[in-house]
């Protein structure tokens, strides 16, 4: 393994995230490689530089006040929303019940057999048999 390949392990080693088996191999390499020892030392110094970057970062005096105001605004908005929902809920429930009833009524009406128009029984029979033969007695009279 070349030093370049060890280089990627140095970061994990510094963070204590390198698996134990690889730690032993890396440490054995570090004992004999001054180049990687130097690399390790340089990389370990980065933590200090990064901590220095936020040294004495000043927080605005009104930061807490602004956060608390934003939280209070959120609380009020959430409360208004909850209140609206609680007002709307009965209306929504009533609407659902109404629509349910409407649907049930419609189903009921559609499931009934169609109602035929009322006619006199004889007229209906005549209409149903238009080409019925003439009675025998009528023939005789014609002759």
């Amino acid at each position: 393994m070349t030093c370049k390949l060890y280089q990627t392990e140095l970061s994990e080693y510094l963070d204590g995230e390198l698996p134990a088996a690889r730690v032993a191999r890396l440490e054995a390499h570090l004992r004999v490689c001054p180049h990687c020892q130097g690399e390790l030392q340089e990389l370990s110094g980065i933590s200090g530089y990064i901590r220095a970057a936020s040294l004495e970062l000043r927080v605005s005096q009104d930061f807490d006040r602004r956060v608390l105001r934003a939280v209070a605004t959120y609380q009020v908005a959430a409360r208004v929303l909850r209140r609206r929902r609680s007002l709307l809920r009965p209306l929504v429930v009533a609407g659902i019940i109404f629509l349910g009833l409407l649907g049930a009524l419609q189903r009921l009406l559609l499931s009934r057999p169609p109602v035929l128009p009322l006619r006199a029984p004889q007229a209906a029979a005549a209409a149903a048999a238009p080409a019925a033969p003439a009675p025998m007695g009528a023939d005789r009279e014609d002759r």
């Binding site: 990627t8 980065i46 990064i50 970062l57 807490d64 608390l68 105001r69 939280v71």
Partner: protein, 206 residues
């Protein structure tokens, strides 16, 4: 009714947050403060704010390079904490959770304003730094951080500033563990290279 409540409603809610702090809270364990916060104690949220204001701001500042933007992001992060505290399961520590929110808010901001090199990285640190050397180091570190890509900066800062484990960084940024490993290694090497170049450039300049 005002669509989101009136100013008077906000002031009233704010008054509750200004209630006097219980004397035991500043010394209480984190879990106790969180429990109190969940129970609706406004002073418990103030205690969380007092404990984590500085680290949240430092992370946001180093990610964004601007104190003003950092405060905006930290403010939004604390509001999100308040909104979703009920959903906090305690699987990770509170600070890990907060860092995750801050880092993701910063990345979202950086994505929408790329390319960026924060001008404020060149401003001197506020307050009384111990020595001129410290000031120089702080300025240089900010410049170097600003030159890293947001993705590399995020993993590096979550590790170095937030002390998150690789697994926690992966969860925070939704990255596989292998990507966290390789990005951290790249970030450190890039930081070191830019640091060296910047030092050489300073020494070379009159």
């Amino acid at each position: 009714m005002h669509p989101m409540g009136t100013e008077a409603d906000v002031e009233e809610a704010l008054r509750a947050h200004r209630s006097p702090m219980e004397s035991r809270l500043p010394h209480a364990a984190e879990s106790e403060v969180l429990r109190a916060c969940l129970a609706g104690a406004p002073e418990a949220f103030r205690e969380l704010l007092a404990r984590y204001r500085q680290p949240a701001l430092a992370l946001a500042f180093q990610m964004l390079g601007s104190a003003e933007d950092a405060e905006d992001v930290a403010q939004e992060a604390f509001v999100r904490v308040f909104q979703s505290l009920k959903g906090f399961r305690g699987q990770a520590s509170f600070s890990t959770w907060l860092y995750r929110i801050v880092a993701n808010l910063c990345l979202g901001r950086l994505r929408s304003r790329r390319p960026c090199l924060a001008l404020e990285t060149c401003r001197e640190p506020c307050g009384a730094a111990d020595s001129e050397h410290q000031i120089t180091e702080a300025l240089l570190a900010r410049q170097v951080l600003a030159r890293l890509s947001p993705e590399l900066r995020a993993v590096l800062l979550l590790r170095e500033q937030g002390a998150l484990s690789y697994r926690e960084i992966g969860e925070a940024l939704r990255l596989p563990l292998g990507t966290v490993r390789s990005r951290l290694s790249k970030a450190r090497i890039a930081f070191r290279e830019i640091w060296k170049q910047s030092l050489q450039a300073r020494e070379g300049s009159p």
